[in-house]
Symmetry: D2
Subunit: 346 residues, 4 copies
């Protein structure tokens, strides 16, 4: 039984980790960290866990945690994991960081986009970017996994095969993404109030959203060139789900079948990436509560562009589900263990 | 492996049966009945099942089904199961009917409230009302189970201990219930369109809703007297969830502790009924996707009334989940097998 | 032109006052009070007012305001208006208080239910309870109007004719009310976050909600007896709208026509109360954005009860609209001036 | 008093025409056409109109209508207006067609994208494309106005100044649009059911949506060149609102101030187009219920692109509001008459 500690267990991503891990047959949560609710019963913070989780919330003591658990998930704002981790801790325990601290290899890029100073840049190189479908083998050997961002997971997986195979002009790539509101977290802010979000849609972080360099870096590796994109996130009145609609110019004429074959080459064997059938557009509702990413594409011969689409649950494949997928890989378990949720509809 | 056939697998309750059973380790769906979608791939009707269910939809042939499966779920409108069932079928296969055909013992009451003639009244007596927490032992031995209605499951379980123990005046009982829109089914009608339901709440079926006599009958058994209630359902702009708010006059002065003890007497050992802690009001979101019913109560000494509240997911405990719970009982499996979903929040 | 000052103009009720008054042909807002946003442009707080309102937010200085305006609206939490008002101010300016400070005649009841000490009980007697349809003549002469609560407006108007005519047993009255989330205000609290409210319904303030004594007092006047009710509010995932479902035992046998005639006696001439046609249940969406209250009823001969229903927009007839209706009456304008919004659907 | 006839008054756009016109001081609806509800009281179809509209629904008889009214609005599916209009009718009455029949000058393009044969191509040339801000003078003189589509109004106005001034490369223009569900109309179809739309977002009509050639034609006129774009609509779980997010490569380096000046050049005097302040992203909620279009932009020097954004209410500026704006122009009224709705928030 893998002993698990969660730092930041009372945010939405943390809560989803608890939901998933409390049904995982090879893992057991022994530390529900939550600075805001120390000593409060976890089930009083998340009433859905009543009679399921009996524990009380603990502090963020990573040193102590490292002695008690096999793996730590940090589901906290940027900067926290980077400020706590050190060699001694990493020598005792594996860490899966759901924040951005170790996602970006170039520390200057991180510091520029996030506006904070990195506290432990010495671990950036070692950290493995935990997009399982792409970095599976490295994840298996990792001590420290940087769990990808929600928008980034969806955006990257949607375009990856075409970037990798070089059939799209990367200088033309535009990602227009739409997210449910749980991505904004559980902190009490006016813009996240029900009446502000409901019956409303808006773009935000236009040209400045922090997931931009992360997408650029990863698609850059795939394409073998430096990549600059436009990434525009939108806030949608729904709890869960991310949809990425991506546009790129084709480098050459291709048929539906050729592109489908490329997607299949990368994803046919992937349990959690479903390449939909022709002309079926991904919908976030069809993956809700599950670890799936649904992708598809449409070629427009009029404009010589391809429109790629991807949908996933931002709290599962976009956060906690992928984190558990990484844990499974790191501990030699079946990759899908505890993640075989059938999407819930409606 | 229990072989399962579903008649009406493409309605919302049918879809939920598929979601639950496709992850059930002792059952296997071999017949996806759907008169409307015969020969269509099931995953084209419910895209969430893509790469999970490979079957095509079949017709409603119960005779043929009886030869192929161990248990039939009928998730169809009233009248269908009653028109198909016969002794030969029941000698071969167990039936769990999610419609109202066998819920009400007095056929005249059924025919009056439902406005249709019952086609097989000879099986009404044999049928067991499948509210597992109350009729567990009878369900285990049943060939034909009448799976309770969604509103009724919630309404009955919320008041049952107090009715049974005789501490409320049953002539004063009022049930004000609120349901998500999946309870209205998947048929294409203007009142169920997004723009008609969204940003709206209304009562409907006031004094005439068909779940009324079902609640009256079952609570009448509990109370040992004939019961007449007011039951008022409301349509709420959300997909899933039922909340029942119930009012009754107390027969005598009671304390919180005394009433809590009564609820605990009936539910402390019940996995799927959670009696919440003092002053916590049930919320439908805390049980979403799960088989739980959360109940609680509040005594008002000013008016000498007790307000009872219950919340559940109408598609799980209110339909498919309870049906599978019944199946587990009928086949001697662990009662919670395949039903241990952790509620999904948010 | 009536000069208007608003204290608390940046809450949801305050914002609705601005929406309504900025299109009112006989009134002009000259003071946008908002302690939280002093010196900030109003249109930056409520972007819908961009290029419509050019003013900046001001402080809460009621003394100064009294010199500059003809009427002050206080759309603030309980206690503020009571702490600011004095004889000198009231000699200069009319006040319409949207808080509860002057709604309840018995100061002890106020202090018990609100848990605060009343700062100016000497004005309670003078204050007129501004439910226009009932207290029209008194409102016309008032200096200080206590604008009714949202739940109370709906709950009272729905039952008023039957209470007044004595055909229901007031000891049996139960009000089960459902409200959109704007009723919870614009303050940043976790329970009001989008993801907490969306896809959820719950009761709250069960037996203890502060609108209870207000409904009891007013219906008590109508019935000519002391009234004790159960009032249970629920939070519904929608922005606007209140639906009240009310239950009472009939004192004698009555027909639909008799009851309809009673409702018509009180409301046939009322522009803003619409008694719906037989069997049409009120829906909040049908009154959204307007000052209407839609009411109807259903007699249940099985239980000898009547179920009364009322729907309105909590921010209009339940707050700002009714406040403007009171202003119109106080200043001798046409009662419906500036309030003839056609409900918006969908 | 302008006598108005509406063909298709019971769809959502038709209902919005009724809402707007019933409060218009210079117009009076005398014909509520609705093939589906002939002889039914209009207020029974739209209960919000109870006690406001007393009429019953009439058939689609345009000949008869032409004798009785001054202007006909056709809020019907494509093909109907084109099949009914003729010279005699146009000699008697003005027509504002909310369908696509007369929007596209090239009848072949129309027939290709809409898949139907145009019944009266002889009137296409005469018809004026009723985007008031652009074609104001022509609208004033028109007999037949083609009221623009919802997506197109928003998409065109958002990019128009930059297309007109030639600062963006039109071959790079991509429009990613998001719409509330009222745009899908009131017909009873499974994909428009509450539970299918709620908690979901999807793209649809990718590369094939019929508003594409309309946007291309109009922006082509502005740019003085043939335009081919990608237009991708998305269905958002909200009733009203369209947001267009548009991407284009800049032809030369420009500053924020230069682009702002271009927008102001075209829109500073326009009542219904609001160019927001720097860095404020348009949100659909801020224009709900009103005739405003809010636009803004952001320059990305990293990619040399500009991101343009526009938000409006699809039923008002995107349909009925713009139609009334056209009527006002055609009849020499103040352009904003009956359209000065303050946006409703929340």
């Amino acid at each position: 039984m893998i002993k698990v500690g969660i730092i930041g267990s009372t945010g939405y991503a943390g809560g989803e980790l608890v939901r998933i891990l409390s049904a995982h047959r090879d893992a057991e949560i022994v530390w529900y960290g939550s600075r805001s609710y120390i000593d409060k019963k976890y089930a009083e913070v998340y009433q859905n866990m009543f009679q399921i989780v009996d524990a009380v919330c603990m502090d963020d003591n990573m040193e102590e945690l490292a002695n008690q658990v096999d793996v730590i998930f940090t589901a906290t704002p940027q900067g926290l994991c980077g400020s706590l981790v050190n060699e001694e801790i990493l020598s005792k325990v594996k860490i899966i960081d759901l924040s951005a601290d170790f996602r970006i290899k170039d520390v200057e890029v991180y510091e520029t986009w996030y506006g904070i100073r990195h506290q432990s840049p010495e671990f950036i190189e070692e950290a493995v970017y935990g997009l399982c479908e792409i970095n599976r083998e490295d994840v298996k050997k990792a001590r420290l996994v940087a769990n990808p961002g929600c928008y980034t997971t969806c955006s990257i997986l949607t375009a990856y095969p075409l970037a990798k195979e070089g059939i799209i002009d990367m200088t033309t790539l535009i990602v227009d993404a739409k997210s449910g509101t749980s991505g904004a977290g559980r902190s009490a802010k006016v813009p996240n109030l029900y009446c502000e979000v409901n019956e409303n849609i808006k773009a935000y972080g236009v040209t400045t959203h922090r997931h931009t360099p992360e997408i650029e870096e990863q698609l850059g590796y795939a394409a073998g060139e430096e990549v600059r994109i436009n990434f525009t996130p939108h806030l949608v009145p729904m709890n869960r789900g991310i949809l990425a609609t991506e546009y790129a110019t084709l480098k050459k004429e291709v048929t539906y079948e050729e592109v489908k074959a490329i997607y299949d080459k990368y994803y046919a064997e992937e349990k959690f990436v479903r390449v939909l059938e022709k002309d079926i557009c991904p919908e976030t509702k069809w993956v809700e509560g599950s670890n799936y990413v649904d992708v598809n594409f449409k070629i427009d011969t009029r404009t010589n562009r391809i429109i790629m689409m991807g949908a996933m649950d931002n709290l599962v494949k976009g956060a906690a589900g992928q984190a558990v997928q990484n844990m499974n890989l790191m501990f030699g378990l079946k990759e899908s263990e505890g993640l075989e949720f059938v999407p819930m509809f409606p």
